[in-house]
């Protein structure tokens, strides 16, 4: 961060001749080439490929040679409007609450860890909580079978022990918003809290010492010092996450529900919708249409968020 300030514009020599510049600095012109090529092929080309949403895509025509149909894909989209809207609603609810609850949980855990003096306890719990981040959603799906299985799962055993009726987890869609949200909070808490913990450890300790001398108790110290100091990081992380609210991967849904049609009412997201219609069934029209509005809303969201960040702290703005 400090390097930024050091970079005075006067240091940059005026550009004399392009050939001279390239010759002198050939090494630095060649070195990033693999990365530049990669980014163009795998990140920028798909952005250009969004042109597909205006086409009647055929394999022969390809991405840029298929028939141009303008907004006609939206007709197909409106034919499947119910499932498209459902997918959008599910995506926003699942991602939105995961971000909200996730941020709250991460901050809470980071603060709690910071208050713990016993180093051994701190290290062990941090490692244990970090572990779920490093296993795949497929593994999480398998693991959750031991809890949710209708007959053998621990949850139903527990419910029945208390005299309740066994719950049909895998055929009851109304349970899956909370399940998906809580599992993604569960999976991310170790990693997310580390980010806040990293910020916490950098705070000026003399503030806390002063507060203690003044007789502030732990809760007061957390509320009056820690949380206000942590606020920029919280807002920043929150805003960065919210830009991707319409995107998301199929891994969690595939791993946890195995694309169970019984649960689509609450688990079909934009990502799984595109996967099912375009890749499994080869219907590119409705997938194109949903991709179009996903990108438009994604773009608007990122721009809005960026404006908010700029207002809040120009240093953190994306552009």
């Amino acid at each position: 961060m400090k390097n930024k300030e050091k970079r005075a514009p006067a240091e940059i020599k005026p550009l004399r001749s392009i050939r001279q510049e390239i010759k002198n600095n050939l090494f630095f012109y060649l070195l990033p080439l693999p990365g530049i090529i990669f980014l163009i092929l795998f990140n920028y080309a798909p952005m250009a490929g969004l042109y597909i949403v205006f086409e009647k895509y055929t394999y022969q025509g390809g991405l840029f040679g298929s028939e141009f149909v303008g907004l006609k894909n939206f007709e197909f989209f409106f034919k499947s409007i119910d499932s498209a809207l459902r997918a959008t609603r599910n995506t926003i609810i699942i991602n939105g609450f995961s971000i909200l609850l996730g941020t709250a949980a991460n901050v809470a855990i980071a603060i709690a860890i910071n208050e713990i003096r016993n180093k051994w306890f701190r290290k062990v719990t941090q490692s244990v909580m970090l572990f779920p981040h490093f296993i795949s959603w497929i593994v999480v799906g398998m693991i959750s079978l031991t809890l949710f299985d209708e007959k053998k799962g621990l949850f139903n055993q527990f419910i029945q022990m208390l005299g309740g009726e066994a719950v049909n987890w895998y055929s009851n869609p109304s349970l899956w918003w909370p399940i998906l949200i809580l599992t993604s909070v569960w999976k991310g808490v170790g990693y997310g809290s580390l980010i806040y913990f990293g910020a916490l450890t950098g705070f000026d300790q003399s503030l806390y010492e002063a507060a203690e001398i003044d007789g502030a108790n732990r809760w007061q110290r957390i509320r009056r010092i820690t949380i206000p100091l942590l606020k920029p990081t919280i807002i920043l992380m929150f805003l960065l996450n919210i830009g991707g609210i319409l995107f998301g991967s199929v891994d969690q849904i595939m791993g946890m529900t195995n694309l169970n049609p019984l649960l689509f009412e609450t688990t079909d997201t934009i990502a799984t919708f595109v996967y099912r219609s375009a890749i499994l069934n080869g219907q590119f029209e409705s997938a194109s249409a949903i991709t179009l509005y996903q990108s438009i809303f994604g773009f608007i969201l990122v721009m809005t968020v960026n404006k908010l960040v700029k207002k809040f702290d120009p240093d953190y703005a994306l552009f």
Binding site: L33, G49, A112, G198, L318
Partner: protein
Amino acid sequence: MKKGHKKKESLVCILIVGIMAFLCFIPLWITFAASISNETAIVKEGFSLLPRDPTLETYRYILADKGKMIIRAFGVSFAVIFAGTVYSLFIMTTFAYTIAQKKSVFRFSGVLSFFAWFTTVFSGGILPWYILMTRYYGLQNNLFALFVPYGMNVFYMFVLKNSFKAIPEELIEAAKIDGASNMKIFVSIALPLAKVGLVTVTLFMSLQYWNDFHLSLYLITKTDLYTVQKLLYNMMANISALLSGTKSIVAASSITIPSNTARMVMTMLTVLPVVTLFPFAQKYFVKGITVGAIKG
């Protein structure tokens, strides 16, 4: 002053963290317990916190019956980890070193940094990506499809950039005065000094490749090229297909194969490399995450 640091422990905080850690640990433990349980006991009484009639029978069964398939999948996964980590580390280090330069050394470092950062915010979504991979780049049903699309993880790349930035400038200057070429400085000074960052990113990337399901889901249909994750997913999918059938099929299948414990054994095998790597990697993870969290 030292006394000030010996504050009283907060029971509430210990409880919160303890419960959370417990919740993170216990599902894995149940899975492990199931993997060493007796199949009929699980079918009769369900999963449990302690293994039921501990036995290694299912492990033996899985390794004997599905051994070839599993070894193959492990082979594919390890090949992907190896090739992928080398490939993406090459792309990321060269790029990160360039953008770690000051503007006075290389005038486009800022532009390139933005060029990479931009892709974390905007994306074309999965549809054009899928068409490009399969129709134009030929990345379908071959080993390359399992790692080439992951050449650069921008966040990890920024971790590398930060570790290059942390190298004291005087060292580079001194080497320059001694007449070392840019290449020489990069290879024999910068790379060794950025070792912590390199190790962190290597570990991160290996785990990313190991856990990846995305690429094999979209780009692989051939069974020869199944990774361990894909194999696990298929085991889950096939057995759930059985479960949704009639009861007689379920009964028949539980006689022939220990389906419940088998899935858990497979899960344990999938997690095993992570478990073995994790203790060594832990300190790097903590460092890497805190360094890479904030925009480079």
